[in-house]
C-alpha cells in the first residue's frame, strides 16, 4: 500500500477539517451512556441477551427510513469479525474503547462514514453514543449526540428512573450518562512548568485531566484530555458550560505562555522545534515516546509560525499513524518493538518528505 493511500484510510474524515481553536484544541468528544430497559447490563448479560442488544440496535437502524443523515451510510462492525490488529487501529483512532475491543461479549460498533459518530454496543453499558469533532465544538457534538439519542429512543426503551436519570452500569456515569472531553495540546505550559499548578486546580472544579489514551495513560506529546467527572445533579448544558469555561481558560494560559516564550527566549524555542524537526526528518530508529515528544515540538513550531512548509495536520496524522497498531497494519505484519521503532522512523521520514515535494 502506498503511503498516500494508507493516510487516506488512516485519518478519519472529521480529522482533516480544521476546527475552531485548532492550534491548541485537537478534538472535542461527547459520549453518552444508555441501557435498555428489562435487560441486565453487559456485565451480567448472557450470550443471547448480549446478542439481543446488538439485534435491537441493528433493527432500529436498518428499519428506520428517515434515520439521521449522518447514519445513512454507517456500518455495523462486530468485534468478532475483526482481527486484533484491526481492533487496535480503531482504538488508536479513538473510535472504540479498549474495553470494547478486548473484553466485550458480542461487542459491536455502528460507525458513521466520516467516523465522527460511533455507537458502541455492549461496552460497559448497552449503548454508548460517541461524537468526535475537530477543535473546540462541545456544543455541536452534544447536539448531534442528543439527536442520535432521540432517534434511538424512538425505537428502544431506555432504563430510566425519575430520580436517578439514565441508569448505567457504573454509578459514576448515572444521571445524564454524559462524558464530555476535550483534547488539548499544552506544550508551552509544560515548558514553563505551569502544568503542575494548573492540573490540581482543574481537578478541584470536578474535572479530570488524563493522557490521550484515557484513564491512567501518560500525557504523550503534551496532549491532555480534560473531561467532566460529575454526571448526576447537573444538566448536560451545565456540565458542558463548566468544561468549556475551564478549557477556554487553559487555551488563554497556553497562548500567554507561547507569547512569553516567543518574547523571552525565541532562539531557544526555535532551536528546540527545529532540532526536533531535524530528528524526525533524519532518525532511523525512534520509539513512540520520543516520536510524540518531537511531533509535539514541531507542531508547536508550525502553530507559532516558526516552521514553515509543514501543515499542522501532518503532525496530527503522524501522532495517530505512529502508534503500534497503525504501524503494524501499514507493514501488514506483526512487529516487535525494535522493528516498530525502525518502521516508525521511516514512516515519519517519508511523510515529511511528501510535504517537501509538495512545497517545490
Amino acid at each position: 500500500m502506498s503511503l498516500e493511500h494508507f493516510i487516506q484510510n488512516a485519518i478519519s474524515e472529521w480529522m482533516r477539517v480544521k476546527g475552531p481553536q485548532s492550534d491548541i484544541v485537537f478534538s472535542s468528544r461527547v459520549r453518552i451512556a444508555r441501557n435498555l430497559d428489562g435487560l441486565p447490563f453487559p456485565l451480567l448479560s448472557t450470550q443471547s441477551q448480549a446478542e439481543e442488544v446488538v439485534r435491537r440496535v441493528e433493527e432500529a437502524w436498518k428499519n428506520d427510513k428517515d434515520r439521521l443523515a449522518v447514519l445513512k451510510d454507517a456500518e455495523l462492525i462486530r468485534m468478532s469479525d475483526l482481527t486484533d490488529l484491526e481492533k487496535r487501529v480503531l482504538v488508536e483512532k479513538h473510535l472504540i474503547s479498549p474495553m470494547l475491543a478486548e473484553e466485550s461479549r458480542h461487542g459491536a460498533v455502528l460507525l458513521s462514514q466520516d467516523e465522527s459518530v460511533s455507537i458502541m454496543i455492549n461496552e460497559e453499558d448497552h449503548i454508548r453514543i460517541q461524537v468526535l469533532f475537530p477543535g473546540l465544538q462541545l456544543e455541536k457534538a452534544w447536539e448531534l449526540a442528543s439527536q442520535i439519542d432521540n432517534w434511538l429512543e424512538k425505537h428502544l426503551t431506555y432504563a430510566f428512573e425519575g430520580g436517578y436519570g439514565y441508569l448505567t452500569s457504573c454509578p459514576t456515569n448515572v444521571g445524564t450518562g454524559i462524558r464530555a472531553s476535550v483534547m488539548v495540546h499544552l506544550p508551552a505550559l509544560a515548558m514553563t512548568q505551569q502544568l503542575n499548578r494548573l492540573i490540581p486546580a482543574i481537578t478541584q472544579v470536578g474535572l479530570a485531566v488524563r493522557g490521550i489514551y484515557g484513564e491512567g495513560s501518560e500525557a504523550l506529546g503534551q496532549l491532555y484530555q480534560v473531561s467532566n467527572q460529575v454526571t448526576l445533579g447537573q444538566s448536560e448544558e451545565e456540565i458542558l458550560d463548566n468544561l468549556q469555561g475551564v478549557v477556554r481558560q487553559m487555551i488563554e494560559h497556553e497562548q500567554i505562555a507561547r507569547r512569553r516564550l516567543q518574547e523571552m527566549s525565541l532562539t531557544q524555542l526555535e532551536d528546540r522545534v527545529h532540532r526536533s524537526y531535524g530528528i524526525l526528518a533524519h532518525a532511523r530508529i525512534i520509539d513512540s515516546n520520543e516520536a510524540m515528544k518531537r511531533l509535539s515540538d514541531v507542531r508547536l513550531g508550525v502553530d507559532m509560525g516558526l516552521i514553515l512548509g509543514v501543515s499542522a495536520n501532518v503532525m496530527n496524522e503522524l501522532m495517530v499513524m505512529t502508534q503500534p497498531g497503525f504501524l503494524q497494519s501499514y507493514a501488514n505484519q506483526r512487529l516487535n518493538p525494535e522493528q516498530r521503532d525502525i518502521r516508525r522512523a521511516r514512516l515519519i521520514r517519508e511523510r515529511l518528505a511528501m510535504e517537501q515535494t509538495k512545497e517545490q
Partner: protein, 169 residues
C-alpha cells in the same frame, strides 16, 4: 539504565505508583512491562476508576456494617452488595432500587448530588405527564364526589380510566 527485571534491555518505561501515600518508582523495559501487565497506552488494565470506587464503598461502611452479614441481593440479576462493592458496577437497572439506601450517600460523595436534573427521554416525559394528570383527575374526582356532583364525577371517572389504559400500554 538497564531494566532491573531482565537486566538485558534498557528501561524505557518509568512510572511512579502511589499507594496509600507510599511512593514507589518503577523502571522497566517495554517487554517486561507488557509481561507484568503494566501500561501499554490504551491497552492497560491497571488502576481503574472502579477500583477507586470500591475503595470509597469500603470507606463508606461503618465498622458495625462491615461485620453485618452482607446478604442484600438484587432479585432481578442476582448481584449482591458485596459483589458490587468489589467491582463497582451494577448488574441491571433494578440494582438502583435494591441498593438505594446505600447508594445515595455514595452518589453524593461521587457527584455531590443524588438527583438527576438533566435530559429526560421523550417517552418517559410523556409518561410522567400522564401520571401527573392522572393524580390531578383523581383529586378532582374525590372533590366532585364530596360535593355530590355525580354527573361530573362519572365524566372524570371515564377520563381516568382511559388515561390508565394509555399508561398500561
Amino acid at each position: 539504565m538497564l531494566c532491573p527485571e531482565c537486566g538485558k534491555r534498557p528501561a524505557t518505561l518509568h512510572y511512579t505508583k502511589i499507594v496509600n501515600g507510599e511512593k514507589t518508582e518503577f523502571h522497566l523495559c517495554e517487554v517486561c512491562a507488557q509481561e507484568k501487565g503494566e501500561v501499554m497506552p490504551g491497552f492497560e488494565h491497571g488502576f481503574s476508576f472502579h477500583q477507586l470506587l470500591s475503595g470509597l464503598l469500603n470507606f463508606n461502611s461503618s465498622p458495625q456494617e462491615a461485620y453485618k452479614p452482607q446478604t442484600l441481593r438484587c432479585n432481578t440479576c442476582g448481584l449482591t452488595y458485596n459483589q458490587f462493592s468489589k467491582i463497582g458496577r451494577f448488574g441491571c437497572g433494578d440494582c438502583y432500587k435494591t441498593f438505594r439506601e446505600r447508594l445515595d450517600p455514595l452518589l453524593r460523595r461521587v457527584h455531590g448530588h443524588s438527583t438527576h436534573r438533566g435530559k429526560i427521554p421523550e417517552r418517559a416525559q410523556g409518561e410522567l405527564k400522564l401520571k401527573k394528570e392522572l393524580e390531578q383527575l383523581k383529586a378532582e374526582l374525590a372533590a366532585k364526589i364530596e360535593t355530590e356532583e355525580f354527573e361530573e364525577a362519572a365524566r372524570l371517572r371515564d377520563q381516568i380510566r382511559s388515561l390508565q389504559e394509555q399508561l398500561e400500554k
